[in-house]
């Protein structure tokens, strides 16, 4: 057992000695580096290291949480936390933390991420690729992020183990004109095979194609969504599969377990896989993470659970704890049987949308919302991209859109950017019919 795991276990033992019914402790030592760039130059480079132990304690179903930095003042912190539990209130829906001893699969994190000497080179490579594609006047901006976290988790209920989680992300937006841009990302858990030029090239390609945009028109369109945009859509649907959001009516999936919620071509999984920026071997209760099929051929199979929400819904945890909020790790949409070019060719009169931002709901239960496509927006006529467009809004319904998916590509890309395509996902191109587009008047 490593020294840090032993110290984490000591926190749990001390909490139990105070009289707590259950104690969870998770120590995270994270090293993060980020290069931010705009106007083809590096604006700032940032490094932030954190060394924190998160402690969750329950006593007579009262759940309290704290954090301890660097194992400093452990006794004081735990004493305060236990006193806090004594004056807090019972949570009758707290059904205890996961019990048992588990064998965890080996972490596959890439520790070389931590020792990357010159991250600026990755940025310059992406910028040059974008300029090569869209021309020397192309203006680019974005971020390059590397992150490595050592995680040590101990529960008084049995689970104990260590994990290392690594992430690499390059996000680049290229402008070939004030109103012509393309955005692309390269995301991975490892530097092996990580290709910043691939994102640069794609952002440049879209930016070049997006030149001289015309005002888009209101109406219903068949739409091909790029994997980056699909990442945002998956972000919407995934948050609604958390049992917590179902319980507070922040979901289109309330009372729909077992029902058909999408077209039969759709299968969605939560998979904290080794390739993903969100790779992990256990959840926040120490339960080994697993593949969960959320929607199978259009049918809603499960919500995402921790131990407590699982008991409320009379099922088993899906290893998605969050102590309060069960959460997805990495969403995968199963690939389809045609390639993206064939998908485009199926569209007689429609749109190809590459990215979006600022998604907001009128009603999460009914699913009415809008989001604003940005970067390349293209009109498709008879299976070919004909014209770049601008200034449109997608104003539709999250449930109806899920049901209107008519095509899914073979190709998939691991995507994540900022808060807009989060959590990370493995996203294909999708074709959706009758998407409602509105414009400013």
């Amino acid at each position: 057992m490593s020294e840090i795991l032993a110290k984490t276990e000591s926190v749990v033992k001390k909490g139990k000695a105070l009289g707590a019914d259950e104690v969870l402790a998770k120590t995270v030592f994270s090293r993060n580096r980020q290069v931010r760039f705009s106007n083809n130059q590096i604006d700032t480079s940032l490094a932030w290291n954190n060394y924190v132990t998160y402690v969750v304690l329950s006593w007579k179903k009262r759940v309290v949480v704290t954090q301890i930095a660097n194992f400093q003042k452990v006794n004081l912190s735990l004493n305060r936390l236990f006193k806090l539990a004594k004056v807090s209130r019972e949570n009758p829906t707290h059904e205890g933390f996961a019990k048992g001893k588990f064998d965890y699969r080996k972490s596959v994190a890439d520790r070389t991420v931590d020792s990357l000497e010159n991250p600026a080179e990755y940025v310059f490579e992406a910028v040059e690729a974008a300029k090569k594609m869209a021309g020397p006047e192309t203006n680019t901006g974005g971020i390059f992020l590397t992150s490595v976290s050592d995680v040590y988790q101990v529960s008084s209920e049995g689970p104990a183990g260590g994990d290392c989680r690594s992430a690499v992300e390059l996000s680049i937006r290229a402008f070939s004109g004030k109103e012509a841009s393309g955005h692309a990302v390269e995301c991975s858990s490892t530097l092996k095979g990580f290709d910043p030029a691939r994102a640069g090239k794609k952002s440049g390609e879209i930016a070049k194609q997006a030149k001289n945009p015309k005002q888009g028109m209101e109406g219903k369109y068949d739409v091909v969504f790029d994997p980056l945009f699909v990442g945002s859509l998956l972000g919407i649907w995934r948050s609604m599969t958390s049992a917590y959001n179902v319980m507070v009516q922040l979901s289109i999936f309330v009372n729909k377990l077992g029902e058909k919620v999408s077209s039969e071509s759709v299968t969605l999984r939560d998979v904290p896989a080794s390739y993903s920026m969100a790779n992990r071997v256990f959840d926040d209760e120490g339960v080994p993470t697993q593949e969960n099929v959320i929607i199978e051929k259009g049918q809603l199979k499960t919500y995402l659970h921790n131990t407590s929400t699982a008991k409320i819904f009379k099922t088993k945890t899906t290893a998605n704890a969050g102590i309060v909020f069960p959460m997805p790790w990495n969403i995968e949409m199963d690939s389809g049987d045609i390639n993206s070019e064939e998908l485009l060719k199926e569209v007689r009169h429609g749109l190809y949308l590459t990215n979006t931002w600022y998604t907001r709901f009128q009603n999460y239960k009914t699913g009415d919302f809008s989001t604003i496509p940005r970067d390349g927006i293209f009109q498709i006529e008879n299976g070919e991209i004909k014209q770049s467009l601008k200034n449109i809004r997608l104003s539709d319904n999250a449930l109806r859109m899920l049901r209107n998916i008519t095509g899914i590509s073979k190709e998939r890309q691991h995507v994540h950017w900022w808060e807009e395509a989060d959590p990370p996902s493995l996203s294909p191109y999708i074709l959706m019919k009758d998407v409602h587009i509105t414009i400013s008047k």
Binding site: T93, R360, S440
Partner: protein
Amino acid sequence: MDKDLVDFALSYAMSKGIEYAEVRAHSEKSERLAMKNGVLDAFSSAVDSGFCVRILADGGIGFASTNRWTRKEAKSIVEIAYKLAKMAKRKYKITFAKEKGVKASWKVEEKRKIEDISIETRIATFIEMDKELTSQGISIPGRMFSSGTSLTEKYFVNTEDSVISSYVPRVSAYGFITVVESGKSEQAYKQFGFTGGWEALEEWGLVEQMINEAKMLQSVIKEARALTPGKMDLVCGPEVTGIAAHESCGHPMEADRILGREMSQAGTSFIYPQGPFWLGTKIGSSKVNVVDDPTIKSSYGYYEYDDEGIKARPRYLYKKGVINEFLQNRESASKLGTRSNGSSRSTSYDREAIVRMANTYVQPDDFGEEEIFEDVKHGIYMKSFTEWNIDDKRFNQRYVGREAYWIENGELKHRIARPIVETTTPIFWSAVDAVSKRVEYDAATCGKGDPEQGIPVYTGGPMMRIRGVYMK
């Protein structure tokens, strides 16, 4: 907070070949409760404390932070920040607008000290609110509340001899409810924020506000009618005025956006050098005066010095309908040949300070609230909003009414279900022809930065009448 260690880190940074350095320590004691459907899920209490160094060297910026308070760690983050600054290899060197050093210490008083309020009282306040809410005979199957307090101590030093200490207490609360009636649902989200002590709870009238929201949503389901789309007048309540001020005035006036520094995430601005809109360009009617003011006492976005050590002051963004002043930090001000107006804020020791709003609002004018309606033949009164968004250049925006009414010949008639205004920034602000006397504020958490830095702000304004916009 070990201020000697912070001073040591600055001294160590000065031993390097640097143009500028600052060290900012940030210690926050926070307590938060989370409740759903009447049940307290968890109560958290924690102290998060650390410090960061930002170095300008060879025209590049490096930033590093730690939560380990040791000399070894202080030296380490200086070394990292210095190395990162040198890595930039910029063709165009970054400079900061000139400022004199400042020595200051400021704090916000609490009429009712947060630390004197027992945990039992805090929890009971929200449990009781939930009981009151659910005893109104309204079906509210989804209820989510959270509330937090924070006591933030900061210590800032830089190589220009600035030494600034501060203490800021804040109280916040969030409520989200789903009302169901006859198989239909409506939802509302309310946020409350205050800089000061527990007296915030008396000012908010939380219980009354949430009950009113629930009753309103029930009435909307029962009574609201669909709107026949067309051009008509729109009267915005303060909540709608405030979000428009924030989204289509405050954000596009952030100088870092204007200069492209946020181009990949939060986006750009319709205002840019050599573009159709710049300082001095008309963007709205002469009734439009939008201010961003961090100095409003007790406001959620209150501060006296920003996170670059610059004295806070009101910023007059749109003045009589003309683009007047951008929000600046020292980096953007230097590029634009001006001075910082104290708009640089950070949420934590491990986040760089960037250009942010504080409290953005439309200034009042001389119309009485009844006068605003008097002259409207056909129109909508949008008192509050639900869905909203705006494109990343801050030009195409949309607000959907949560509570809204039909106006006919100056009188409020029936409720309207989710009316929508979807228009451009110049159309919206140019059509303002009347502004009322009384300003109201709403708390909000403004998102920007990567990693995200949700920062406390107020949005606000009076009632505002907009002539002849397309509504649907």
